[in-house]
């Protein structure tokens, strides 16, 4: 193996053979080392959350990844390839350019007996973002999300000063021994939090300047999205061998309470987009 070992000869054969061997070793080692180095860099750069989302997004089932424009029927049903980051999706830019979101007529939309105030934007992870006057936003669980969790056993809200990343972990809700993680809808720093009994809400101020809301759903997209979500909920529940929703699928106030036997962990995972 080494020139100083017994019986080693500098022949063409040994040169080729050992050459190839060492090359392979080198390449493999280099690959692993590079991956490690890169990973360190990423960790240092606080990219962990983004990457977590990307890999979870990759594991999500097809119909959870449907593009928002597919929901509205602008394009035929295809999956998003940007991890719901419409900010750098040229297609999205085109669509928005084609018809800018019109201002809502009424102040609230009622879907399946659930109220969705239109003074705010919605995130695919069932959170809403309400811009406040001072440039900060309030973040909270949307109605379906709230009903999905019902009365939480506990909520771990991030302390003020925590830096949130879009699609990173916003906060966690304890219920039935499972930890449901709620995706953060925006980048920003937590300034205040509360409302544990209603699933919790956060007050978030942007890192710098203003927020980017491009990836959030607007009023027009709300209904189609919710329809799809209800379908998914149906499937998830059926999948979890739970009885279909009461009366044509109007979610009750506390869905888990309606049927304790169900594998709610799975349902939550499905609905809160856990990979």
């Amino acid at each position: 193996m080494f020139p100083w070992n017994y019986g080693f000869e500098w022949t063409a054969a040994s040169a080729i053979f050992l050459g190839a061997f060492y090359t392979v070793i080198a390449i493999v080692a280099a690959t692993v080392v590079r991956a490690l180095v890169q990973a360190r860099g990423m960790m240092a750069g606080g990219e962990a959350e983004r990457i977590r989302w990307l890999s979870e997004f990759h594991d999500l089932p097809q119909q959870a990844r449907v593009c928002r424009h597919a929901l509205t029927g602008e394009v035929s049903g295809e999956a998003c390839s940007h991890g719901f980051d419409c900010g750098n999706c040229e297609k999205h830019a085109e669509f928005v350019g084609a018809q800018p979101a019109a201002a809502p007529q009424n102040i609230e939309e009622e879907i399946f007996g659930m109220a969705f105030p239109l003074d705010r934007l919605y995130h695919r992870g069932h959170t809403w973002v309400r811009p406040e006057g001072d440039g900060s936003v309030t973040v909270g669980l949307d109605e379906l999300g709230r009903r999905l969790v019902g009365v939480p056993d506990g909520v771990d809200l991030p302390k003020p000063g925590t830096r949130l990343r879009t699609n990173g972990i916003g906060w966690q809700i304890q219920k039935r021994g499972a930890a449901v993680r709620v995706l953060a809808p925006v980048d920003g720093e937590v300034v205040d939090s509360g409302g544990a009994e209603r699933g919790g809400f956060l007050r978030v101020k942007p890192f710098a300047g203003t927020f980017d809301f491009r990836h959030l759903l607007t009023a027009a997209e709300l209904r189609p999205w919710m329809l799809r979500e209800m379908e998914r909920l149906q499937l998830a529940l059926a999948d979890a061998r739970a009885p279909a929703l009461a009366d044509g699928g109007v979610p009750v106030e506390d869905i888990p309470a309606s049927d304790p036997a169900t594998d709610w962990d799975a349902v939550w995972g499905e609905m809160f987009l856990e990979g």
């Binding site: 193996m1 070992n5 017994y6 019986g7 080693f8 022949t11 054969a13 040994s14 053979f17 050992l18 061997f21 392979v24 070793i25 390449i27 493999v28 690959t31 692993v32 590079r34 991956a35 490690l36 890169q38 990973a39 990423m42 960790m43 990219e47 962990a48 990457i51 977590r52 990307l54 890999s55 594991d59 089932p61 097809q62 119909q63 029927g73 399946f112 189609p224 329809l227 209800m230 379908e231 149906q234 499937l235 059926a238 999948d239 279909a244 044509g248 699928g249 962990d265 799975a266 995972g269 499905e270 856990e274 990979g275």
Partner: protein
């Protein structure tokens, strides 16, 4: 109770059921370890091998599983090098299969040598002209590669992924996986080949001896081809078996068909090459060494039927089934063809090892037979059990079949969705 480890959105049997499933395999593994231990402590006198039958069940096992494990490198090659997207559905499973086969083979080899403590001699004082050196180097390297390829799959486990570092490393490693796939292909190419060369160079055994290119006898290339041909078949087979046992749809039908098609095309090529090689051997190589080829087949039970079985029954027939789209489309045909192909490779390796050693060379040699001792069989079963365990555990806790979740969602009888057909 182990729910926290099982990926979201896939269904797995209860822990109790799973324990019941692996318990017998675990027992078998323990028995295997005991047998192997006997051979290591008391020496190879525990086996029924002898000075004429120097290789037995174990070498046959090694050659066979390594051929079947070729699916790992070949699927990787298809997916990452020539971008056959369907392979994404089975690549993880393929990697696990490969890891299982190769680690099993290496374990068996370590028991098989007389002085396991000296395994590193081969690396320290390599004789670069020996096919076995090539095999040893390539297999150990490739096993490392497989382990590295297996790592990301493990790190994506639901529990482990919660460690941010793991996920990020997995993410980064996955970006570079094509490099590993390339290296793996290179290594596999050579060790599959040299496994064939192992017997092809045996000038002393005209039954196995073949002429070839440069330092490589024709069996070198035949083994590469056959391994590449059967690898996908084996992946196909294991996937099918896994979905039958777990009663789940794991991949879309066309994935299996694609595998079958690839396997079929290569198998056809292999059968042609093998036939040509056999003809050359019968008419030139063998007579050249003073051995008329017919005499090999004059020893019962190894009549010419074995040649026929190898080339036609287990070669041509599955090849034809797999290349015919209409037959391939029927799961029954697809699976049985794949099975035939895998059996064919096993038979070929059997002929290479056992028949070669059984046939006499000297005029006054007897024709020998050999039956493995229970210690050999035990070790053999231990390797099989090891494979089953690793695969079962991986199947339960890791995401071997990315399509499973979607297929499962699709399979759910969604009763009248609200305002159905609205879009």
């Amino acid at each position: 109770m182990d729910k926290a480890f099982i990926a979201r959105g896939v269904r797995r049997c209860s822990t109790g059921k799973f324990v019941l499933w692996i318990a017998p395999w675990a027992a078998l593994l323990v028995f295997g370890l005991y047998s192997a231990g006997l051979c290591l402590v008391k020496g190879l006198n525990q086996t029924n091998m002898d000075n004429r039958f120097v290789f037995g069940l174990w070498i046959f096992l090694d050659l066979t599983v390594i051929a079947l494990g070729a699916g790992a490198f070949f699927t990787g090659f298809l997916l990452y090098i020539i971008k056959v997207k369907e392979m994404k559905a089975v690549i993880n499973s393929a990697v696990v299969i490969g890891l299982v086969c190769y680690s099993g083979a290496v374990a068996a080899l370590l028991v098989d040598v007389g002085q396991p403590l000296r395994f590193w001699f081969t690396f320290w004082y390599p004789n670069v002209h020996s096919m076995l050196t090539e095999v040893t180097f390539c297999i150990t390297c490739y096993l490392t590669v497989l382990a590295i390829e297996y790592l990301p799959i493990v790190l994506r486990n639901r529990k482990l992924r919660q460690v941010p570092g793991f996920l990020v490393f997995e993410f980064e490693l996955h970006k570079l996986v094509y490099v590993l796939a390339g290296v793996g292909t290179f290594l596999s190419f050579f060790h599959q080949g040299s496994l064939g060369g192992l017997f092809g160079v045996l000038r002393g055994h005209p039954f196995a001896f073949r002429e070839g290119l440069a330092v490589w006898p024709s069996t070198f290339f035949l083994f590469i081809l056959s391994a590449a041909a059967v690898g996908p078949s084996f992946i196909l087979l294991t996937t099918w078996v896994a979905s039958k046992i777990s009663r789940k749809r794991l991949v879309e039908a066309q994935v299996l068909q694609r595998l079958g098609r690839i396997s079929g095309l290569l198998l056809t090529a292999y059968v042609l090459a093998k036939t040509m090689d056999t003809l050359i051997w019968i008419n030139r190589t063998s007579p050249g060494t003073g051995f008329p080829a017919w005499q090999y087949y004059s020893w019962k039970p190894f009549g010419t039927w074995i040649l026929f079985a190898e080339i036609v029954v287990f070669g041509l027939i599955p090849a034809l089934i797999l290349v015919a789209p209409r037959l391939r489309a029927r799961t029954g045909w697809l699976v049985s063809a794949a099975t035939l192909a895998c059996l064919g490779i096993a038979l070929n390796r059997f002929v290479q090892t056992v028949q070669t050693l059984a046939l006499p060379t000297l005029g006054f040699d007897p024709f020998l037979s050999y039956a493995p001792s229970w210690q050999e069989v035990g070790t053999f079963l231990g390797v099989v059990a090891f494979g089953m365990l690793v695969y079962s555990l991986s199947f339960r806790y890791l995401n071997l079949f990315p399509q499973e979740r979607d297929l499962q969602a699709a399979a759910v009888p969604a009763e009248e969705p609200v305002l159905a057909g609205r879009y």
